[in-house]
Symmetry: C2
Subunit: 339 residues, 2 copies
């Protein structure tokens, strides 16, 4: 299984690097350039950068995780298909949005209700799957302890909302060159390490309780490889943006791993900065309404606040990467401490 | 022990962040600015950036690893003192070099022979310590397998050379804003994760064979925290450089962890990019001599080659970070696969 994890990362990296230049050329020919509007401070020079670069990560994740899937450990049906389904159906919603914006050159894309409807279908379906799966169920693990918390029937609405929240957080964080790609490269690596630890310890103790950790590990490694490959084209100055296509793919994939491993609470650590992006938007909106026009942040999501404060894009990416790395280490420690 | 690892990282982070601004102001007052000469392409605008910023990492590593040292697991003498000794004595050589350059405003600092003599004393002493320590000895682990390779008496010269090589590799890689800091933040995190895995597995199997992994883990976490804190001031555009002070500290600390865990072969993966920097310098020099004046790279170390090729500093840092991250994941996998 360990060699498969390495294979998955390398295949995904190669797939992203090889499809990259072609994809960018193709998207440019189709004039799928981003129409930059009022979303970010002084990003006018980014007009025309092709969006939907996320498709190269999709290619990487798909190839890496299918070719290296550890079929002798976990069957096809229980883990890898749900993972891929959530990721790629989330991506489909983002893709529809990007496609409408790019082709019709309108800013609005899908209507908010269409987006939410699509996301509810995906996340409700996945929560139901986890709830009824004999290998997952309604109990989630509590970090740092060996104990679990059985949510019972509430598992379904809570997890449905959580998946939607994570997908949209991921989407909101995607606003600076290399930002979400870097954060997700680190967070996927953390998931991969957690899967390794679960696999090693369950092999040592003889309990065959790894429960999908092998599959999730291969999947997370292919995510990490795909993100690192994508950053080759997305780091500042970006040659392509991942678009809603990419950000919803990464958000869906991250949420799916967390639920399969029964570790959704770890998202608070591992996916802290995207969650912070969401929370900053919500705070800004409510504060604005409550005070009839005052703002907490110069601009939300909070990475634009830092931009307005005078930080450069690469400085903000570096800061987010540092925070994510530390919190991911704490997440890995929390798993070790639970044995 | 796990909570101590978190504590070490947070204390080191806080120490670096808090000492940073004061240290930079103090160094500026002393006119300890870097005198930029022919080392990098078009770095003239960096003239005067204070060097020896590495001292804030030293504060972080010292405080983090001493306050959180897991004395109930490993004694003081066996592991933490050798780790600190190698790190800080390596740093002392770099500090002497920086100090002479800064005070005397000469480019040459210590003579090459003085530097090498200092490094030989430190690394020979440490290799002898490891060789004679009943808990370490002359056998090193072979990655991906459970087996070991007993170098016998050859352990001493091989490891002496290795430590010198690693310290100088680290020193050579330190040439772009945030480069070595980012690479070492990732590599220290990898060491910390490896230490966690060794500790968890040896606790589960009942063999109390963690052999210093708890101490090395706390030490590695304080390195990671210190590097992340330092990057706050060293990321592009850098407010301070770590100097030989910092790069030799990080190189010494990395080599010391590798030898204590009996995993020096993993340096090839975890510390690949600094090693690549060294190798590129050696290749360039020999090729130049052999061909009487031709060059393989536009400039060595190889990160300056990429700069001359038109990549920006932040692009090169991002590339090195991606490579380091993938190789570190493979290193962690190699440890899991050896059980």
């Amino acid at each position: 299984m360990y060699y498969r994890m390495i294979g998955a990362a390398l295949i995904a990296l190669a797939a992203a690097l090889l499809t990259g230049p072609r994809l960018i050329r193709y998207l440019k020919k189709l004039h799928f350039g981003q129409t930059i509007y009022e979303l970010g401070p002084s990003h006018q020079q980014k007009q025309g950068t092709p969006v939907m670069g996320g498709l190269m990560m999709a290619a990487g994740i798909l190839l890496g995780s299918l070719i290296c899937h550890p079929a002798e450990w976990d069957g096809i049906w229980d883990y890898i298909l749900p993972l891929l389904a959530v990721s790629f159906l989330s991506m489909a919603v983002g893709f529809a949005d990007d496609y409408i914006k790019a082709v019709k050159k309108r800013h609005d894309g899908l209507s908010p209700w269409q987006k939410i409807a699509g996301q509810v279908i995906v996340s409700l379906g996945f929560s139901l799957y986890c709830y009824f799966s004999p290998r997952i169920g309604s109990a989630i693990r509590i970090p740092f302890t060996g104990s679990e918390w059985d949510l019972g029937f509430f598992y379904i609405p809570v997890m449905t909302l959580l998946v939607i929240f994570i997908v949209n957080s991921s989407n909101l964080q995607d606003g600076l060159d290399g930002l979400l790609g870097t954060v997700t490269a680190i967070s996927s690596s953390a998931w991969a390490v957690i899967c390794m630890i679960i696999t090693v310890t369950s092999a040592l103790t003889g309990k065959n309780a790894a429960g999908g950790a092998a599959t999730a590990g291969v999947f997370a490694m292919s995510m990490a490889g795909a993100c690192i490959g994508f950053l080759r084209f997305n780091r500042y100055p970006a040659k392509t943006f991942m678009g809603d296509t990419g950000s919803m793919l990464l958000g869906g994939a991250t949420a799916a791993i967390a639920l399969l491993l029964r570790q959704p609470m770890l998202l608070l650590l591992i996916f802290f900065t995207p969650i912070m992006s969401s929370v900053s938007v919500i705070m800004q909106r409510y504060y604005y309404k409550l005070t009839h026009g005052k703002r907490i942040f110069l601009m939300s999501p909070i990475h634009h606040h830092f931009e307005k404060k005078g930080y450069t894009e690469t400085q903000i990416v570096s800061m987010y990467a540092g925070i994510t790395m530390l919190l991911c280490l704490i997440a890995v420690i929390s798993v070790c401490a639970s044995f």
